[in-house]
């Protein structure tokens, strides 16, 4: 009887921890990640530097959209990783979110520019259509379709666990 009791207590505890171990090691563990596909929204905004009008037709192929702002400290943490990515020839388009133009330009001058170009979204219009809740957020876009969305800082681990699986599955960035 006492043996059974002890075995039961230990067994249940082991089961409990095993479950959580398995749960944590599942891929879907990242609550910030969202793989629902949708079409790239239409927009008309200015380029941060040239003040040229940019709309959805200026975007083609496969690329990342990174939502950032000079007031966002986490973006600063993320920035180094984005520079690495752009050095590996991954095209990144910046979406400067609710930010003063001067601050944003100063920020880029100070920390480096990983972006192909930067869309200046002062009022957060495009961000709203994209479903952005804050900064930083990153989207993976392929031929006019949003295929992955990550809320929060992208780093080595997130890139490997969240973005790489879908990039491999869809066979993206192969020609670049």
């Amino acid at each position: 009887m006492t043996f059974l009791l002890r075995a039961l207590i230990l067994g249940l505890t082991l089961l409990f921890f095993t479950f959580f171990y398995l749960y944590i090691n599942e891929d879907k563990y990242y609550p910030g990640a969202d793989f629902q596909t949708s079409d790239m929204p239409k927009f008309e905004l200015y380029d941060l530097y040239s003040e040229k009008v940019i709309n959805q037709d200026n975007l083609d192929g496969t690329f990342l959209i990174n939502v950032w702002a000079s007031w966002c400290i986490t973006c600063r943490v993320e920035h180094g990783f984005l520079v690495n990515l752009s050095n590996q020839n991954i095209p990144i388009i910046g979406l400067n979110y609710k930010d003063e133009k001067e601050n944003a330009i100063e920020w880029i001058e100070r920390f480096g520019d990983p972006y192909k170009f930067i869309i200046h979204d002062l009022k957060g219009e495009l961000a709203l259509d994209l479903g952005v809740t804050g900064a930083p957020e990153t989207f993976l876009v392929s031929n006019g379709t949003l295929i992955a969305h990550y809320r929060g800082e992208v780093n080595d681990m997130i890139w490997k666990d969240v973005f790489m699986p879908i990039i491999k599955k869809e066979g993206l960035f192969k020609n670049d």
Partner: protein
Amino acid sequence: MLIEIAHFLTILSTGLFFLCFIFSFLLSSNDTNVINLVSKTYSHSFLLFVLSFLIYIYLAVNDDFRVLYIAQHSNINLPIFYKISSIWSAHEGSMFLWIVFLTIWGAVYNFFTSNNQPLKAKTIGVISLTSVGFLLFLLLTSNPFEIILPIPPENGADINPVLQDPLLAIHPPMLYMGYVGFVIAFGQSIAFLVEGKSEIKWEKQVRFWSLIAWSFLTLGIALGSWWAYYELGWGGYWFWDPVENVALMPWLAATAFIHSLSVSSKSSILRIWTLLLSILVFSLSLFGAFIVRSGIIDSVHSFANDPERGLYLLAFIGFLVITSLLLFSYRFSILVSNKRIISLSKESFISINNILFGTLIFSTMLGVMYPLIYEFIYNQKISVGAPFYNAIFVPITLLACIFMYFSIDSKWQQKLKIDLFKNPSIISSVMAIMVVIFVKYKFLISDFWTLASIFIGMMIITRYIFVIFDYLVLKKFTNIYSITAHIGLGLLIIAIGLNNDLSKERALNIQINDSDFYNNYEFTFDNMKLVSGPNYDSVIADFIVKDKAGNEFMLSPEKRKYFVRGQITTETAIHVTPFKDIYMTIGDQLDDGSWIVNIQFNYFIRWIWFSAILMIISGIFLAYSLSRKRS
């Protein structure tokens, strides 16, 4: 420079805590020199660690935004109070605080326990090991000392506005204080198991520490419930939010534990229960930390998630829990008592309630785990809500209260004599029935469970009034603090029953200068104004509320938009009366210019927190009286 010093001090104290563990477990712990050594090492290590935390506070107060964490969570414009509380507004800093509290408990125990105490060295050893585990977690996966290079930001970010509230600034510290306080009971029971001498009476020592920790835990939960009510605008006292549940489980286990302790500190009966519960309380506290900090569950409480953290915590907690259970299983024989529990004795009622509390903990755990298991297997998200918990908690809690009621008359190791007519029970039952009949017709309540909780709550309260009478007039000896705590319990179940049954809410759609009636009150929308606060803009709606007797008062619910993050918060307006709160929040403006306002009448909600306060005060006083008796 200071930040590097703080970082270094933390690393140093981690090493010293580890040494402390090594000394206490590898050297013979009956040697006074060894105990002195362990005790000294611990206190030095503790001082270094606390110094490191004080430096951190200094840095936060002085806006040292070279520190990444401070830059991310504090702002130059914040009042000094929030600069300090911003330290525990997110993961790294709150973990830091959590460990500070863990070591404070150890230090206080170390200071007040004499070196002759046979379990002292090993208890401190266990506390040190636990601290080392969490310190490594802090340093390796969530380092609060990280620095931004090369140029620090000028103004910092901002603390989450929901957290800019004096109550929230103290709610997590209280809760952490309660959570980690059980490390002493845990340490002592592990020390007891390692020593393996059944004659050591560790229960007596532990009672004091556990009562204090229990009081903190109760306070933390009550404050959290109050915060959700008036700051988050949730409009109730309990929501079965996963994180509320993971705080409730250790509380339930701790409640069973302190009752079980009162039995096994008198005789060796229920030792198995007591020991298992002491492990369970601390394990559930750690489980709470794991759930919140691994980001497994989405909730208002969750921190930014990082699977590495979850894995580390899981491994360390798993190590602690499984090792202690193996030890428990290995030493099972020294815990077994040859005394039998006499049926209908006080012990028997307490052990029945242990089983009932166990059921509640198990059910809560099931409610927390079920969505995870479901998601794991079927890949779909579901949630377990109030109906599940109510269906289980209401009947089982009432049943436990009935057994508790019988235990009032029962005696230690004696069979309860049921002599209905010579006993105040009969009078208390009659009084309780009268109250129920009165309430039923006065407030038109027909729900069985509400009436049952009023009946049982009244039985407990009226029965205790007789006991208090005996105590005051006939000078009969009783544990007066236990009485006040249980009167608190009686009040709690009555208040919850009435609140559940009577409370009502309605959304009004109202234009400026219009008025509307609800629940015999007239609400007039008087004015709408725009106000700028120090770091937000807000809209304030002024309502004039008039009751039937013509008394007027003003309610001004508010909606704020914070500058830095653009976050919108609702500030509730509450009018408090002894029996009910009138609670208002504003929603959105409609196209025709009218506003949606939500009005709630929350009956007896203050009584819920009042009864919690009664329990907290009783716990503290009981602990105090125990420490007086001991010395």
